[in-house]
Every structure is written in C-alpha cells, then in structure tokens.
C-alpha cells in the first residue's frame, strides 16, 4: 500500500507565484523517504498541503488510500507533523502541549497522559514535563515537537527539517530514534532536510524538488550509483610548488597548502591516484570525503536544473562542479 500518493499537485500563491507545478510522488508504506530541495523549492508547500495547512490549487493527495478532499479527518488522524518552525504555545507546559494534541485526536485524558509519559520519556523530556515550553533549549523544543507528533501514534510521520539548529550529539540521537520507530514500529517517515548526510544515513528513497518540480527520484543507493564522481580531500606531507597532473583525476589546491582536493571519476581506482602521486614524490598522510556523496549529487542536480529546464540526462553523467577560486589541472 502507498502511504502517500500525490498526483498532479499544483499550488499557486497570490500574485501568481507557482510553488508547485504538478508534482507526482509516491511513498510506500514503511518507507523512510527524503524530500530534498533548495530553499523555496516547494518542499514546505507540499508538506503543508498533505497536512492540511495549505490549500492546494489542483491535483489529488491520498494518504493510505484516503482522499484529502473526501476524508480529511481520516488523513489528519494518520499523519504526525513536525514542522520547520516551533508552533506550540510557548507559555504552556511540555505535558499540556503533548496531551492537548492527544485530546484533539480523540484520546481521553488518562490515555493521553500515559502516552505523553511514554514519548516524553523516550525523547528525554519527561523531567521537563511541567516546564513552560519557552524555557526549553532549541534541541529540547525540537524533541518536544517530535513527541507531540507521535502522541496519537500516526502511521505517517512528516518531518520538515527536524534537526535544524540541533547540535550533532542530539541530532545523532534523533536519527537513532527515528530509525528505530521506522524499523521497529513500521511508521512511514517522510523527511526534508538540508543536511544531506542525514538523508543518506537515514532514508531508503529520495525525491529532489526544485522550482516546484520533482527533478529526480529513486532509491538513495540507485541515485548514488549514478553519481559519476567523488571528491576527496588529501592531507599531504609537503606543500606543493605546482599542481601535479595525474590522469584522469582532477586535482585542485585548497586554502591549506598541505591539502589538495581530488575528483575521482566513477570507475577509476583510488589506488591509481596514490600510485600517480607517489611516482611524483608526493606523500599522502590521510584522506577524507569532501562532502557526502548525496550532497554532491544534489548540488550538481540542482545547479543543472536552475531555471525551469527539464532535467537533462547529462546531469546524471556527472559534470564536475567548477570552482573558480581554485587552480585546476587535469
């Protein structure tokens, strides 16, 4: 069964601003799905429509085979939303915020409190239950929004940049928690994020949206296999006087004279790079990925789709992103 099925969804705001241009999207039940895109791409509008916060212009939305136009209450009952901005009464207590949502979903007081205790404990907030929400730290507020979204035990959890502004430790514990509720409890999760390593680490499938269109979709592993190159940063023993040339690798300088950046095209062994550098007398101390692979793929895709052109298949064949500040040699 599809957890979410979107057909020809459009949204035009006032002054003819087209936020969505007829997108089609399917998310299977049990999936951990990422909807990625740059700012203003239409991610939050799409999520707003699915969760009834934004009126669509045309198209259809189905959640677990219930139509948004015909059965909005059933859809709402099956969705938990963690929005981008804090949207709770900051003067209310943590416990009241969570139990209110349970109540709005028809859950009686006793059961609301039991569930609130369960989710607040799991998200490490039970000790703060009588604290006004405004007194919580940013990370706690994010976790409160997750507890609030889960208290009515939805089948589809939608998270709009849930880890924005959260420190790395809390972010990783949130990843762990989200993974566990996806794998153990079978909750379908749809996520938007600007941290692409988050999407790569968590999600099975991904769609990339830009200028209101879905420009790419598929399994994360499949998209990564289509990524035609990886960029590595190498720590070298001695500063270079001139850039080495090792075919077919693209080598660039970095700000740090003891680092170089190398693009490794798909199908080429990194051993060949090391052999080439070694033959030129360049010793490498260590290496790391410049950015995660999905991020490289995403940046290249969005750069190529800039404006309104349809996605060109050449994008998927990997054109190296040029950096005008760097000296380049091949």
């Amino acid at each position: 069964m599809q957890a979410l099925s979107i057909q020809n969804l459009t949204k035009t705001y006032d002054q003819d601003v087209q936020a969505l241009r007829g997108i089609n999207l399917d998310v299977a039940e049990g999936d951990f799905f990422a909807l990625l895109g740059p700012n203003g791409a239409g991610k939050s509008t799409a999520i707003g429509i699915i969760s009834s916060l934004v009126n669509k212009t045309s198209g259809s939305v189905q959640v677990f085979e219930h139509d948004l136009d015909k059965e909005p209450e059933r859809i709402k009952a099956s969705i938990g939303l963690v929005p981008q901005e804090f949207n709770f009464n900051s003067f209310d207590t943590v416990l009241n915020i969570v139990t209110n949502i349970a109540g709005y979903n028809g859950i009686g007081m006793r059961e609301s409190r039991r569930r609130a205790e369960h989710y607040l404990t799991r998200l490490d907030l039970w000790e703060k239950r009588n604290t006004a929400a405004r007194a919580l730290s940013g990370g706690m507020k994010r976790r409160l929004m997750i507890a609030r979204a889960l208290v009515h035990e939805p089948r589809l959890l939608i998270l709009d940049e849930p880890t924005a502004g959260v420190d790395i430790e809390i972010r990783r514990s949130m990843w762990e928690y989200l993974s566990s509720i996806n794998s153990e409890e079978g909750i379908t999760i749809m996520l938007t994020t600007h941290y692409l390593e988050e999407a790569e680490a968590l999600c099975k499938n991904v769609a990339i949206i830009d200028h209101g269109d879905i420009i790419e979709r598929g399994a994360v592993s499949e998209l990564l296999s289509r990524s035609m190159q990886e960029t590595f940063v190498l720590d070298i023993q001695d500063a270079l006087h001139e850039l080495p040339q090792v075919q077919p690798f693209l080598i660039r300088t970095c700000k740090d004279p003891l680092q170089i950046e190398v693009e490794v095209p798909k199908g080429h062994k990194i051993n060949d790079l090391f052999d080439g550098l070694s033959s030129l007398g360049i010793a490498v101390n260590s290496m790391r990925n410049k950015s995660n692979r999905l991020e490289e793929f995403f940046v290249r895709l969005v750069n190529q789709s800039g404006g309104r052109e349809e996605l060109d298949t050449s994008v998927l064949q990997g054109t190296p992103a040029e950096n005008g500040k760097n000296n380049t040699a091949t």
Partner: protein, 258 residues
C-alpha cells in the same frame, strides 16, 4: 473510536485549554472587570446615583447593576476569544488544530465555549461584588443565566471573527475600543431609553446591545425598555449570522491557511 467521540474529546480538550489559559492569567482576565465594576458602582451608583431619583421604580444603584454585570460579560467573552485565537495564529499553534482531525465546527464551539466560560465567570464575580452595594435578588434566575450565556455566545463569535481577520494586536483592539465600548455605553447600562429625546430613542433601537442589557435587566429587576421576545429575537438572529460567518471563514481557511 467513531467520528463523534473524537469530536467530543477534542471539544473538551479545547475548552479545558481555554479555561486553563484565562484562569492562569486571572490577574489580567478576572480582576480588572471586578475592579471596574466596583469603581462604576462607587462613582455612578454611590456618588452620582444618590442625586438621581429612582429609575423605573428602582434606586439608581439597583438599576445600574444588571448593566454593569452585562458589560463585563460582553467585553470579556469577546476579549477572551479574540486574544486567544489571535495568539494561536501569531504563535502558529493554531496549526495544532488544523493538522488534527478536529472539525471546524468543533474548533469554533471550543473557542466560543471558552469565551462563554470567561464571560460567565466575570459575570459571577461582578455579581458577587455588586452584593457589596445592593441586595438584589433576580426575579427570573433561569432567564438571567440564559441571557448571559446567549450574549456570551454572540460576542464570543464576534471576537472569533475579529481574530480571524486581525493581523496585528492593534486590529484586535479596534473593534472593542471603537465599536463595542460605544455600543455598550449607549446600550442603556446607565439609563433607560425612555429618558432620551424621541430621535435618540429611535436610534437606540438599532443598537443590538440595548436588547441584551434590557433582557438581562428584566431577568433581575422585572423591568425593561424592550419586550423580552425582541431581546431573544435580536440575540438569536445575531448568533445565527455570526455563527454562519465564523464557520464559513474557518471552512475557507481565511487568515489561517495559505
């Protein structure tokens, strides 16, 4: 759990939240109307009222009390809903309701009940305060409660519509300051319209607040400038109109949905 059970629990939750809100800030919500009532009774009833002869056969202080109670009910039921719903828009926690399976009717009913709860609470407090100055016993207690609740419903609906359109705090106070207060003051709190010149009497009949204050006064004193049926008719018509407008706005998502 069926649809109606969900709506009922959601309604109770919303009402509980609303009551908790105005009780938590009781110094701002309950105390000022009581203080105002005491001042009105001292100044108009005590100081000025002693120089006024009876009105409709009652001491001026006694004549004044129903209007002052009703003034508290009107301003507080309106003010509760306008500030609560506008606050939920401003802090965006109205989205908690929009993403939940709560019908628009339930949302409206919850906010209106919250407004009624505050209006009636203030009415009871002002009534208690008035016992310091009078020893009135309501002629028709059931009627008194009924008119108080219906008036609260009407002004709660008005406050809700105001909050839907309001974009700023200023826009929340324009109607109370420039419409509600003049209508209330000119609605016969302090006088009987029989004391006005004929033209002013006729103009007063276009003021809906006149019908509520006189209906309420009738329930306490047994005298009124307006026949009781007219009071109920005006309140009923206004409730029907305001309810329809408020629910239509919610269904359209005016002011709350993009």
């Amino acid at each position: 759990m069926n649809y109606w059970q969900v709506q009922w629990v959601a309604y109770l939750t919303l009402v509980r939240k609303e009551v908790r809100r105005f009780m938590r800030i009781w110094v701002q919500t309950i105390t000022p109307p009581a203080v105002n009532a005491v001042l009105y009774m001292i100044i108009f009833g005590g100081l000025i009222g002693t120089r006024i002869r009876e009105v409709d056969g009652f001491a001026y202080m006694d004549y004044l009390v129903p209007g002052i109670i009703m003034m508290g009910i009107i301003t507080n039921s309106y003010g509760n809903v306008v500030s609560s719903f506008f606050g939920s828009k401003l802090q965006k926690y109205v989205e908690e309701l929009l993403v939940s399976p709560v019908s628009n009717f339930t949302i409206l009913a919850g906010y209106v009940t919250g407004g009624v709860a505050r209006g009636v609470t203030v009415g009871l407090v002002v009534t208690a305060v008035s016992f310091l100055f009078t020893s009135l016993k309501p002629e028709y207690p059931v009627l008194m409660v009924l008119i108080a609740i219906l008036t609260s419903i009407m002004f709660s609906l008005g406050g809700f519509i105001n909050a839907v359109f309001a974009q700023t705090f200023d826009e929340c106070s324009i109607v109370p300051n420039f419409v509600l207060t003049p209508l209330t003051y000119l609605g016969g709190i302090f006088y009987s319209i029989s004391m006005l010149p004929p033209l002013a009497q006729k103009l007063s009949l276009f003021n809906p607040v006149l019908y509520m204050i006189n209906g309420f006064r009738f329930s306490i004193l047994g005298v009124s400038d307006i026949p009781l049926w007219q009071s109920f008719a005006v309140i009923g018509i206004f409730i029907a109109i305001l309810f329809t407008v408020a629910l239509t706005l919610l269904n359209r998502g005016t002011g709350i949905k993009a």
